[in-house]
Amino acid sequence: MYPAPFHYHRADSLQGAISLLSELGDSARALAGGQTLIVWMKLRFDEPQHLVDLGRIPDLSRISQEGDEVRIGALATHAEIAGSAVADLLPIVRDCGSGIADAQVRSRGTIGGALGSADPSCDWPTLLHTLDAELTCTGPEGTRTIPVSELVEDIYTTILKPAELITEIRFRRPPANSGGSYTAFKRCAPAYPTASAGVQLTLEDGDVCSDIRIALGSAGLKTVTSEEAENILRGHALTEASIDKAAEAIVAAAEPVPDQRGSEDFKRAVLRTLVKRAVDIAVRRCHGETIRGHHEYV
């Protein structure tokens, strides 16, 4: 299968890419790793007349940690992030980076591309909600910061302006006594998740949960969060009953779409299990246990 014909432009700098995208307007798309866009173009879901390749822009894939701030360049691949010192520090980041699709897709796919596609099945947006990440975005009008929770307007639609690009993902390193877990259920490795859940929490004074963030992926047209579910757990010692109640609350807020991956009821059942499993792993990681996270598939 061939994509429809298009003109190819290779950007050598961020400003160069923005200028090209401004000039070419709506007939152009920015190409990062291409693991979503190229498939879409082959299936003729999208037929841009111009592709602006960002892949050779220097310095957009740097992964660093300064003080308690973590920064990930938008062109960092899933594999680069999974193999980084940040993933050593934050197991939830490795769960996500090493679980996405398969080794081949992880070689090419980028975190910025996953965010920009605004696909609710992508893993990074869900994970980044649990870390309250912020996105540095640069366009013709300059640079601004967008909280990850505000990026997606609707399925496949971001609030980014024409020619505006995500350049960096930033988040604070969680405090001591924190743990996180991200897990997805898939039909097989290369498939998009049927459902996914991320949990990042902090424990104080024994097992009192002083802070928690929960997010669900493939659970609606956007990433699903629930203050109600978080409030059930925040400020209290975690018990099986309270975790069950919080899982119910966030699953009630989900609106999973029935499709070839499963019925709505099936997806709700999977989401409920994933939330409980993610809380369990996050708590054990808080206690210092080393647990290798992974996505589940049969």
């Binding site: 299968m1 061939y2 498939v39 080794a103 490795a189």
Partner: protein, 163 residues
Amino acid sequence: MSMSEVIDKVSIQVTVNGRSYQREVEPRLLLVQLIREELGLTGTHIGCDVTYCGACTVLVDGNPVKSCTMLAVQADGQEILTVEGLEQDGELHPLQKAFSENHGLQCGYCTPGMLMSSMALLAENPDPGPDEIRKGISGNLCRCTGYNNIIKSIQAAAKEMAG
């Protein structure tokens, strides 16, 4: 885009299995098509054509890639290894030998991709356990073997390569 509009070809240089090639390509040419149709290296197969099955896996600068989901222009200046590059001086690579000896294939359609993913896996982890192998080749589908003999083959090759 109107059919009459002229699309400029792009000049690229790739090194495939140690040999350098210069080509003028249409931007929409996929890497797998460059390899198969322009360079005549038909060992790399096209299976699903949508980033699922892994039959088209090649190594680009050492990293496994599904070549149906990469444009040839994106590979400009890079080093590519395909299944044809595994054999050295008429000698099969230990992975190829192990697949043959352990019945790691039946119809053989997935095998070139399996071999390339196995190369990447063993470069990163020279002594993988069965679960690590399962995860390492999880982007490669085989509809014949049930995978057990593939896992056995990769373990045998790992042993052979460790000397």
